[in-house]
Amino acid sequence: MTALLSVQNLSVAFGGSTVVSGVSFEVQPGECVGIVGESGSGKSVTARALLGLAGPRSTVTADELRFDDTSIADATPRRLRTLRGRDIGYVSQGALVALDPLRTVGREIGDSLRLHGGLSARQRQERVLSLLADVGMPEPSLRAGQRADQLSGGLRQRAVIASAIALGPRLLIADEPTTALDSTVQAGILDLLERLRSEGTALILISHDLAVVSRLASRVLVMRGGRIVETGSTAEVLTAPQHPYTRQLIAAVPTDRPRGTRLGAPLAAPVLRAAPVLPATPVLPTAPDLPATPVGNSGLAPQPAAAPPATPLGNSGLRSGKGPDSAVSTGRPPRTPEFPKGTAGTPDEGLPGSPEFPTKEEEAVVVEATGLVRRFGDRLAVDGVSFVLERGRTLGVVGESGSGKTTVARLVLALDRPDAGEVRILGEPWSAAPERDRRDRRPLVGAIYQDALSSFDPRLTVGAILADALSGGRSRRPDAAVARLLGQVGLDPSVAGRRPRLLSGGQQQRVAIARAIAPRPRVIVCDEPVSSLDVSVQAQVLDLLDELQRELGLSYLFITHDLGVVRHVSDEVLVMREGRVVERGATEAVFTAPQHDYTRRLLASAPRIAAAPPRA
């Protein structure tokens, strides 16, 4: 059988810089080939070159670039257009914005039929509806009349796929088709692609997420710096990766990696300074009067401040009712308040951000939320959420978009007021306190956002941002403390003179972390802090957060839709749906024995690296 698509020695250059070089591969009819790599690895450019869409300023050269019996490199623009419309479907990156906001979905899909199909208007309409039904769009006739902004992310993606397959192409190129989608939605899209493939459409699936690719692809190309560094059957590549970069990519996937293990190999984190290997139990400097008994249980949260903790109630973790008595608790002793004998009380001079614990008895409960309710119009965004977060621990909050997890974050940050219930920080009123009283204590609660860049004042350099955070707004002149802070998050001191937008995504997030730890907070609210980062960079940032938690005794409220990440970072987890907590408990317990249907569904949909090759 001859290959459907054959690429030999493809190179793409923009001006003087070559972004793709020497790429060769073939796609057989009905086969799924995955292309994996980080942003900038050239995977999207490769895909666009196959469609003749590399752009006017690009130079595309190849020994062979053939689809079926057409040479793409030599094809006229007119031939390319038919090729793109009829023979090769393309689902571009950022499909969420790929639909014209002023046109209905039905027209968008109908267009390719009109241009290439030669059907009557009536036949087109029927075809559109059957396509929408095909891609699993509920109520196709209603949806066909709607515009993009009336559809959710998953439905938009289905609409884009419907228009890509409208003419029954023999090859479908999907560039990051599930990025930015919730995991259950993502699973639906992947099922759809798998169904198309099994019906005979060849598929090129491009993603930075090895787990996504491994679900569908029978062969994988690993790209880096514009070259293919490894290729082979999915099973071979995953079980016996040859290239160190592939191994690094596989290791960086956080799914199923237990709490506390490093994700990034040393190779993967060249910017990290050589941190001493920290013991699993951190050394908390100046708090010798802390109780050495485990304080893992907090089921009796609203007890008076600093009361001795009750004995662990191992089974209370899976309760999901409302009210403070359903607070998260686990039978597992916490990792933090244990002090190796003889070393307790030794100040750690090298760390500018070492917490200064007050001399009075330290509160073990850092954040306590009781019966939080937040209403937006008729909708209950948050409905009776309670939890307790202890010092040095991480509470993961998982849920899909619209589940209310971000609203919870805003309530804890006191950027929004609950309609009922309250948040207390270190036992003191927080959400109920007036802003004037709260302002002095705001440094206790830090925040890291998904989009680090937009959280920086665009006029300021990294140094000014950090100096401002360190000095409480009194100074913007970078000094030695700023350099130390940069070192602490694994950045070179020279970064201080640069503007955040000139840094990479991972570096920006490190700066955001540095700013968050500068005022010596007790808790950091992390809202999807790694969702927009490549897997290997994500691993480095997660490792950094983990390291800082051990060094500084921080607590994290970690909000994410990514189950792999949440399993890796959190001690306890809340699963949220439509504003309610549907399940809570120790992370491992929830992941190994989910009690609620929704949690089970969520877990089943999480992409993980398939050990077995997909059904061919």
Binding site: Y449, S455, D457, R459, R515
Partner: protein, 266 residues
């Protein structure tokens, strides 16, 4: 950073105008008001580069000496306009919702009037003169600026970095002074450079109508007005003042646009 040709020319024009405004005697040592009836209506020559007017006054000297008046009116009007706009914009952007609503509706009412008509109304009430015409131009340009500043203030106020500043525990005063104003200032500067040209044209128009500077004062608009009677026979009397109005307006506008563009690119 490389300068484009248009930018170099604009900078040269502005430098020339700045010298003319600050030290006109360096460029034109004569007296702009000195009359010489025997020498009237001379066409441009080596003795009188731009020719002379009906009283034999040297037009080049008058144009150079008029720069100060014209530019001052343009700059002051822009400053008044932007100052008012900044107050409106901050009130609307930061104040309670009803205040924003009220300010926005008021601005929309003002928008209903053509700008120059509004200036004329003001002069009708307060009488003609340099000061009133300057204020009039400032007032009539304010609504346009105010709307831009309001949207910019709201954009900065609702930005994630301002929220990050709240999380760090900064007061509202700190946030306005250290984040909002500096970030609005950039667009303000661009608006100002773009606005000066427009204000000069408007102020000259008012003088031309006899509502601003009055002859024999050397002001471009007033000179245009005086030359209008002789426009068919003695073209230089209107051409050169007009040329300077066009040059100054064009140069500041080109400069404003390129600052705006560079701001976007960088």
């Amino acid at each position: 950073m490389r300068l484009r040709a248009a930018e170099v020319v604009s900078l040269a024009v502005i430098a020339f105008l700045a010298v003319a405004a600050l030290a006109p005697f360096l460029l034109a040592p004569g007296d702009p008001l000195a009359i010489d009836p025997l020498d009237s209506f001379q066409s441009p020559s080596t003795a009188h580069v731009f020719g002379t007017d009906e009283s034999g006054r040297d037009i080049f000297t008058r144009v150079v000496h008029g720069t100060g008046a014209s530019l001052t009116i343009g700059l002051a009007a822009t400053a008044i306009g932007l100052g008012l706009a900044l107050v409106f914009g901050l009130l609307a952007g930061f104040g309670p919702r009803w205040l924003d609503f009220g300010t926005t509706r008021l601005l929309e009412v003002l928008f209903a009037f053509p700008g120059l008509l509004f200036a004329l109304l003001f002069i009708v009430v307060y009488g003609p003169g340099v000061v009133t015409s300057t204020i009039a131009v400032g007032l009539s340009t304010a609504p346009g600026y105010a709307r831009i500043i309001r949207s910019r203030v709201i954009q900065v106020r609702t930005s994630p970095y301002l929220e990050a500043s709240v999380v760090l525990g900064r007061s509202a005063r700190f946030r306005i002074a250290r984040h909002v104003l500096p970030n609005v200032a950039g667009s303000l500067f661009v608006l100002a450079t773009l606005g000066v040209g427009q204000s000069i044209v408007w102020a000259s128009s008012l003088s031309y109508l006899g509502l601003g500077a009055v002859p024999p004062a050397a002001e471009w608009g007033a000179m245009l007005s005086a030359g209008r009677t002789y426009i068919s026979s003695f073209w230089w009397m209107t051409f050169f003042p007009g040329l300077f109005i066009v040059l100054s307006a064009a140069a500041t506008t080109v400069l404003g646009r390129s600052i705006q563009q560079r701001g976007r690119e960088s």
